[in-house]
């Protein structure tokens, strides 16, 4: 496949969140045709017959099923942002609807847009100022880097292994066929279709299962990336278990029980959390535990939300300070756990500790003590910097404002949990807690790639059933191999030739 253009691309162009309106945008030569397939308006007239730059009220349907009530805006090229035929679907916000619409567009022939692709097309079609070339280039590379990272990071280990296993089998069988074709006097491939068909059926089953996993959102970790942080034995695992309603993490009284990172998907009041329990953060000599601690720090760095659990029956110390630094600039909630025991830590203690450990208040972590007024600006960065230190430049006086929610809970007695739920809901609906959009896009890209691989393998099966000669099989086998490689980020390169030479003995 590699690099493509002249195709029709689609993407969600608003942040995937609970926002009131979502926009799904589609651009390319078939944009109107695809829109015709999934749009039902009031009158019989199809969208492709409507005038440019008009807005239409109707419904998005997938076959018999109505997905949402929408407004559709039509723009014919070249008078559109990309310079191509463009359709914008304004739908009800909400993760599910926006995602479903995008998936439907893809089912009907659109392709998930590559990072920066809308902007690139706009540029190539002369819709952007030439002086912007460099900026467009930067955008493409930056978004691509991000997409690659999230694509690779978010793919679950078991899914990756499964895909690699299928790929390995596909390339082996393809190499066998190709070796035989290349050296027919040494190796015979006659009747190989029968054996291959069994394998193809098996791979189809494997990919079908992965596709189902995709629909469950389990192939990659969708949801708000939530990390539970805290000192050893602060009750992080207990909290997770309460939220999950099951004993998932091992809970003991021994400090440092959770040595790695546990991960769970939960739904709190309709909000999807992808929650990670981490090893307690403390200076440690234990190597296994140390790896866990380092990993916890990495996760905290990438998190959308941090739940910081403090054992209120023990005084704050250096390790808490470490965590205070980690949550600086992040959306977080502080939980004073063990409210069943006598409290040694108060909200004021937490607040004081926070500002002591983050002297810049909301500046970049530890880099500078000079407060940059702009980075503290709540307006420009609403989702972050909940611990606010505002500085008036002229008068050099400090106005401290601590905005991180602090909640008393008892994981043991399940107290305060509803308060936590309410707080999260509030953060979410106020727009202070957002998804990482790229996760959804990545999932859809993966799904498209899996479907492509599935289709290619179906063609192999058809070729076998139709009694086609063996050389036809390898064409579609390699298509499947390539499509699966798009998920794991691997290209074909010289794979086939290398497999032929390493696994099979050639003559001469």
């Amino acid at each position: 496949m590699g690099y493509q253009y002249d195709t029709t691309i689609a993407a969600i162009s608003t942040a995937v969140s609970s926002a009131g309106i979502g926009i799904v945008r589609m651009s390319g030569p078939e944009a109107f045709l695809i829109a015709d397939c999934i749009y039902r308006g009031k009158n019989e007239k199809r969208l492709s017959e409507q005038k440019s730059h008009t807005i239409h009220y109707g419904f998005i349907v997938d076959g018999e099923e109505t997905i949402d009530e929408v407004l559709v805006m039509l723009m014919r090229g070249p008078r559109s942002f990309t310079g191509e035929d463009t359709v914008e679907i304004n739908c009800h916000g909400g993760v599910y609807v926006v995602k479903r619409i995008l998936e439907t567009l893809i089912d009907y022939g659109a392709r998930p847009a590559e990072p920066g692709e809308f902007t690139k097309r706009a540029f190539l079609n002369g819709r952007l100022d030439l002086s912007q070339a460099e900026a467009v280039g930067d955008l493409i590379e930056a978004q691509n880097k991000y997409a690659l990272q999230s694509s690779v990071n978010q793919l679950k280990g078991c899914v990756r292994q499964e895909i690699n296993r299928i790929r390995k089998n596909i390339i082996y069988h393809t190499a066998f066929i190709e070796t035989a074709l290349d050296d027919p006097e040494h190796i015979s491939v006659d009747g190989y279709g029968v054996e291959l068909k069994g394998n193809v059926e098996e791979w189809l089953g494997d990919i079908r299962r992965l596709l189902d996993t995709c629909d469950d959102g389990r192939i990659i970790k969708e949801g708000i990336r939530t990390v539970i942080l805290g000192k050893p034995n602060a009750g992080k695992s207990s909290l997770l278990n309460v939220l999950l309603g099951e004993e998932r993490a091992i809970v003991t009284d021994v400090e440092g029980t959770t040595r790695d990172v546990l991960e769970e998907h939960i739904n709190l009041k309709g909000i999807s959390l992808n929650i990670m329990d981490t090893a307690g953060i403390r200076d440690t000599e234990d190597i296994v535990e140390k790896i866990g601690v380092d990993r916890a720090k990495d996760y905290a760095d990438q998190a959308d939300l941090i739940l910081y659990v403090i054992d209120s029956s023990r005084p704050l110390d250096e390790n808490d300070c470490e965590i205070m630094r980690l949550i600086e600039g992040k959306t977080s909630v502080i939980l004073l756990n063990k409210s069943d025991l006598e409290a040694l830590v108060t909200v004021q203690d937490v607040e004081d500790m926070y500002f002591t450990c983050n002297p810049g208040g909301c500046g970049d972590k530890g880099e500078s003590s000079v407060v940059d007024h702009q980075s503290c600006d709540n307006e420009s960065n609403p989702a972050k910097n909940k611990g606010i230190l505002m500085v008036d430049d002229d008068r050099k006086t400090e106005i401290k404002e601590f905005k991180i929610p602090v909640i008393d809970i008892s994981a043991k007695d399940m107290k305060g949990i509803d308060h936590l739920e309410e707080t999260l809901k509030k953060l979410f609906f106020e727009g202070n807690l957002a998804f990482n959009d790229e996760i959804y896009i990545t999932n859809i890209r993966h799904k498209t790639a899996l479907s492509d691989a599935y289709g290619a393998l179906e063609r192999v099966r058809d070729s076998i059933d139709d009694g086609m000669p063996e050389d036809f099989y390898s064409i579609d086998l390699m298509d499947a191999y390539e499509a699966l490689g798009n998920i794991t980020g691997e290209t074909i390169g010289e794979d086939l030739v290398n497999e032929i030479f390493s696994k099979f003995c050639m003559g001469k």
Partner: protein, 636 residues
Amino acid sequence: MKFSANSVWVNKDKYDIVVIGAGHAGCEAALAAARLGFTTIVFTVSVDSIALMPCNPNIGGSSKGHLVREVDALGGEMGKVIDRTFIQSKMLNKSKGPAVHSLRAQADKANYSRTMRQVLEGQENLEIKQAEVVNILTEDGRVTGVQTFSGAIYNCRAVILCTGTYLKARCIYGEVSNNTGPNGLQAANYLTDSLRELGIRMYRFKTGTPARIDRNTVDFSKMEEQLGDERIVPFSFTTDPDEVQIDQVSCWLTYTNEKTHEIIRNNLDRSPLFSGMIEGTGPRYCPSIEDKVVKFSDKNRHQVFIEPEGIETNEMYIGGMSSSLPEDVQYAMYRTVPGLENVRIVRNAYAIEYDCIDARQLKPSLEFREIEGLFSGGQFNGSSGYEEAAAQGLIAGINAARKLQGKEAVILDRSEAYIGVLIDDLVTKESHEPYRMMTSRAEYRLLLRQDNADQRLTRIGYEIGLISEERCRKLEKKEELICSEIERLKHTNVGTTKQVQSLLESCKSTPLVSGASLAELVRRPELSYRLLESIDEKRPEFPADLRDEVIEQVDISIKYDGYISRQKKQVEQFKKLEAKKIPEDMDYDQVKSLRIEALQKLKEYRPVSIGQASRISGVSPADISVLLVYLSSSSH
């Protein structure tokens, strides 16, 4: 250090193009250059070794047969010469799809070589000269001539390097090492230094060949006879099939066994490969028997093909058992093979090491990027095989001539020809072993068939000037017949008559439930155009010389229509990227936001198009997007 002659003499005769080497690449290069009207001289270290086949006695084979067909369709010579000198012929993979059908012929080596030499000798504008070229002369980055070992200078406007395996060649077996080219011929020991001085990066590659044995000492009763095809298909589109139906000779099949393998294993320490005496990189597709035994230790036998080297010689080639083991081990191991118990070896097996180039220094036209007028082809470019060499030689010859004509270079792309795949791979991909053509390297192989090489390339050959108008007209006639016959079949319906149903039944094909077009019937795997003759009343009569070819094309076009149209669509995408050219003087440092790896690779390879850039490993689709954006902004 560059060679310095004792005396210098400037030859005042005028030459346009100098070809260095008269192997399979050199012959095609020299013929193409001379036929396009340029005064050409071809140098060889031995006039007796023109078009020598120092390894296997075959032309063609899987994917290589395709190359020969393509060379022929463009106006090259290899196909014509093998049609006149073959002694056995086979179409390989006949039970498979048409894309992998491949012709392979056993050549009478001496006759092939002699016949090609006669073609060269009879060619107007072409001169043959026995001399070793030691220096390439340049001025301001442009080729001006060459100098031979005797000190003589030949001025010219373009040079084509086709030195094969001769540069600093060394033949090795066991503890024996000899600084000669193949077959004990003189090596070319000085040219490498001259090339290095011009800034050309060199590689050292290795290959090998099995022993030649005396036919009188072989017991054929212990081997399986391998016959040629009953109906022989010629290589050249210009050869009349009726004229190649000759009496063929046989090849013989036998096997190695545990005893053979044991001898090999016990003597591995005496192999120059294992002792480190050989430093060159050998090809994985052509392993020596010792490599096979080590690498595939679970196999208890390997096939061995005993093939004649010609009609007027007793020498036979032991296909599948190339080796660089010591002489005594060679005797011992060959004699364990059934039928070879008393075999006498005429020429020992050996490995050969030679200098070649990193072909990424070439443009797709096969001209060196940094030295104007200097072209190269064949094994010198890091390929292997007679056919790969001929294909590159032809293209280098054509493009050297076109350079002097002031015309744009001929560059076949990956969707047009195996030649395009071959050259694109050579100049775009890093390689650590001699490159061999394979059908799996061609992503559009359903379109690049050996049967349609003429339809793909003969018009291009005509435009270049190597194909006659008559031949081009004949092709047009053929295409017309194919086209109208396909249309007729699509629009001729047959009903559920008794005649139709009984024909289908006799071919084990499902009877019709309602009417169907003849094209629909041809599409069934168990049926074909020829089988339907009895129910196709209005079938036209084709001219005798085109009949077989037309029927073959009609069958293929209808049967594989779905697959073929799919590949054609992919080719459309591919062509768009190939058409986006990158200027030769492109300054990649100006392209901000390319990743560092991509930047380095692009600067190193200097691709000619966005398509070629996208095939360089380390250049991502995002980098390609960035490049496209940059190119479109700078073109305004």
